[in-house]
Symmetry: C2
Subunit: 243 residues, 2 copies
Amino acid sequence: MAELDNLKKASAHAGPLPPKGSIPNISVDNLIFGLENGSLKVLLIRHNIDGKRKPWALPGGWIHFDEDLRDAAKRILHLHTGVEGVYLEQLKTFGKVDRLPFGRVATVAYYALVSTEKCPLIANDDRPDAMWCDIHDVPNLAYDHNEILDFGLKFLRHKIRHEPIGFNLLPEKFTLLELQDLYEAILDCTLDKPNFRRKMLKMKLLESCNEKQTGVAHRAANLYRFDAEAFEKLSSQGFSFEF
Amino acid sequence: MAELDNLKKASAHAGPLPPKGSIPNISVDNLIFGLENGSLKVLLIRHNIDGKRKPWALPGGWIHFDEDLRDAAKRILHLHTGVEGVYLEQLKTFGKVDRLPFGRVATVAYYALVSTEKCPLIANDDRPDAMWCDIHDVPNLAYDHNEILDFGLKFLRHKIRHEPIGFNLLPEKFTLLELQDLYEAILDCTLDKPNFRRKMLKMKLLESCNEKQTGVAHRAANLYRFDAEAFEKLSSQGFSFEF
């Protein structure tokens, strides 16, 4: 009976148990950043419980006992939004004592940066509402989800100065202006055009395609592609984007 | 009774419950790197249970229901080794399905880089064995602790190329050779001396003290101090140590 008492105590502390087969006291949340027409967005969902709309939140949930953490994050992202094929990286675990009103749950946050175009949200009757929300228009979110978002945004902005994480969101051949638009969206600032070009080319991460844009009304710009091999080399030495 | 059944089920999956007042299914582990005479070490402990020596492990344990994650990590580090006053940063959460033989537990790993001299291990009858183990001599550790160590080591080596995380381990005034020793210990390689000096000085993170070493048998070297203000500025722009 001592064990059962212990068990009850744990449950009382932990609040409502997760569904059968899921681990109590630990969850996952997904922070999915999306780029859309030069704007940075974040993927939010809103559950409808008994006809009552809950606050907007990051798509998250409980982990099955037989499931690795990242697999749980992937499953839940698809379950709630229909989004799949996204490479999720662990961001940080948030576990403050009072982060949830109903008990003690630490959440392992995963993040990704995607092109919204390639990650359509698929609604169905079992899914909560979902939207790509502009980063400037994020409402008060459930629990500590605004804190997770703020942390993730700082992390992303720091990371993009050290790693070419945004390049995979561009077409294979892109102009320097397209690249600058991407950096400006993520960093939420205006970069000096000649300075950006000079520094970006100096890093030798871009290879000229010796081709120009076609079908544009304005003067056609040169096209570049990302040189993955050069990046590998630079990356192993440690480098950063200086602009 | 459904709730109780659920509870039992969770417990069966989770294996032995942690002590009363602690959260099931989640723990913390501390990866404490120490520098000692130009060598990189890691802090390990070995529990003695019923007179039986367990494998060496990272100092870790269960989290109290009323305790934040980092506070738990700090408490457990002190509990097992006597080490205190260390600034712990979250590294990553390890949560593979089968990482522990007795049930499903995800562990939030914290790390720090310290000078072993400033973190003496204090033995007492309630504490497990503890040692600063040279990074080249680490034995097979308990559970997935070798994996946590490998991840942390890669993380540290990446980080030290972007942030001056080792400077606080040096005396306030130090020589370039002392600085190079520190980098060589962490990166586990030999750096070219003229190259290291040239690149380090070029970054303008070091301020000359206009003083030389005293009381040395060899030719006295110039002393430098770390320029925190210059680092702040560089850091906000994103920079890296290039050597």
